[in-house]
């Protein structure tokens, strides 16, 4: 198949990849299962054996739109081997289209996320990471309560579980679920959290405390 594509005239080759890219974008963008994206084997079946090449072309194209094709391997795959994954690993990997860059706080509001919710998600994920991937729900709730009202804490955790950011096992242990693995650069998050200067944050903390007091008071008055 690879040889065939090489033999195609330039115009036809371009048309070929354009057509394949369209198919790929349909598969990756439109949600067909409970989870978005598509598995490697699905892409191979529909796009052909050179699907990884199509994905790379698509990825280059999406760069202009600040999007990227994100490939997430199954859990337990040795991270050192991810540079050169085997066809088997690629088959089982899941491909998603994610934002290449980042969102501004204003944009997140438009997506329906409150600053409180985002902070809660960050705290939950970072705490679970620091506890080697599993933390008791109660412990996470206690930590969240230092920043959020109790009712919001529970609501947020249930929401994160529903969205697939975290999971909860039968022992009440929270763990990172598929969406966190796809969307969140865990290393960067921890690194940024730890590197944030305390001096700077102390000022911000005071600022935010007075701000939240105002909002709470307004709510109370309402």
């Amino acid at each position: 198949m690879e040889k065939e594509t090489v033999r195609r005239p330039r115009g036809r080759r371009k048309a070929y990849y354009t057509m394949k890219m369209r198919r790929a974008i349909h598969l990756l963008l439109f949600k067909r299962h409970s989870k978005p994206g598509a598995k490697g084997w699905e892409l191979r079946r529909i796009l052909g054996p050179d699907y990884m090449k199509v994905i790379r072309v698509l990825d280059d194209y999406l760069e202009n739109l600040d999007l990227k094709v994100n490939m997430v391997f199954e859990e337990g795959v040795d991270k050192e081997n991810l540079e050169n994954p085997t066809p088997e690993q690629l088959n089982k990997a899941r491909f998603y289209i994610t934002l290449r860059g980042t969102l501004t706080p204003r944009e997140t509001k438009l997506l329906g996320w409150r600053i409180d919710d985002i902070a809660a998600l960050a705290i939950t994920i970072s705490h679970i990471i620091s506890k080697d991937g599993k933390a008791p729900r109660k412990e996470v709730e206690d930590l969240l309560r230092t920043k959020l009202p109790s009712w919001r804490t529970e609501m947020n955790l249930n929401r994160f579980i529903r969205y697939g950011y975290i999971g909860e096992d039968e022992n009440g242990q929270l763990y990172l679920d598929w969406r966190t693995r796809v969307e969140v650069d865990s290393r960067k998050l921890i690194d940024l959290l730890l590197r944030t200067e305390v001096e700077e944050t102390a000022g911000l903390y005071n600022q935010s405390t007075s701000f939240s007091m105002e909002t709470e008071d307004q709510e109370g008055e309402n």
Binding site: T98, T146, R195, T201, S208
Partner: protein, 279 residues
């Protein structure tokens, strides 16, 4: 005199030990927090008055210099740990506690690349919708079966809310008991505390919540109130023994019917501000 000389010799040995310890931490790359700096400084302080010779004073200064190097190492260790991939749960928790919600969210946004996806109707969801539609009764039948009635607005008690499952009895009681323990603690030996000093909190919302829970503490017999109208003073007095459980609510009320009376206590924003100013 000989005892003084002996003390100095022991002191010199101790200080040499300090220098050696600090150097070994530096040279072997050990965790600098293994060294208890306070202890070492205490030893230096202990012998400092004994030193008369410049040689001893130099030894003392050297030890102090080595301790300073260890402190520097400790600082670097913290920095290194905070920038490397190692995640210390305690450190992270502290950071989370110190940082504002806005800052945490800002940091998270830099590491967050949400999925772009479009939800659309699928064959399966169409099937589900069809099944639901087929099982759905006509509107007039549904209204009949539910026997919808026009209900005038009224009041509802907490017990009724618990009964219909809107409020959780156990969680509420647990919260009340923890507040009762807090009241007992704050009341101290005097056995009572000013009402506003107990319910007052950093936020108006929390103050109202505490006042609400306190009202149940008094109603359910966990505490009593002392009111001095002339002095405009109100005190909360926790009872040492817990009430007899859930039945207490009803039985206690019956028994105490004659003594029970309601006192409306306004918890206005102005009063809370006034209390905050006094604090």
């Amino acid at each position: 005199m000989p005892s003084e000389g002996k003390k100095r010799n022991i002191g010199r040995e101790d200080i040499r030990g300090i220098i050696e310890l600090c150097r070994s931490v530096q040279s072997r790359g050990l965790n600098p927090f293994l060294v208890d700096v306070d202890d070492l400084v205490a030893i230096l302080r202990k012998y400092f008055s004994e030193w008369k010779d410049s040689e001893d004073l130099c030894l003392d200064a050297e030890a102090l210099n080595e301790i300073a190097s260890v402190i520097k190492l400790q600082s670097e260790w913290v920095k290194r740990r905070s920038t490397s991939l190692y995640t210390d749960p305690f450190l992270l928790e502290e950071k989370v506690r110190i940082l504002s919600k806005e800052k945490i969210a800002e940091v998270f946004l830099q590491a967050w690349h949400p999925i772009a996806e479009l939800e659309q109707i699928s064959i399966r969801s169409l099937e589900d919708a069809l099944r639901y539609w087929e099982n759905l009764l006509p509107l007039d039948e549904r209204l009949l079966s539910e026997g919808s009635l026009r209900v005038e607005p009224g009041t509802i008690t907490r017990e009724e809310l618990v009964k219909i499952g809107i409020l959780a009895e156990e969680a509420f009681l647990e919260e009340m008991r923890s507040l009762w323990n807090e009241l007992k603690e704050k009341a101290g030996e005097e056995g009572r505390i000013r009402y506003w000093d107990f319910i007052g909190s950093n936020t108006y919302q929390e103050t109202v919540r505490r006042a609400y829970l306190t009202s149940f503490l008094v109603t359910y017999g966990y505490a009593t109130m002392e009111i001095y109208p002339l002095e405009e003073e109100m005190f909360l007095k926790p009872l040492k023994e817990p009430p007899l459980g859930a039945e207490r609510k009803t039985r206690g009320r019956k028994e105490r019917r004659e003594r029970l009376f309601s006192i409306p206590i306004p918890i206005s924003y102005e009063e809370w501000m006034e209390w905050r100013r006094r604090q």
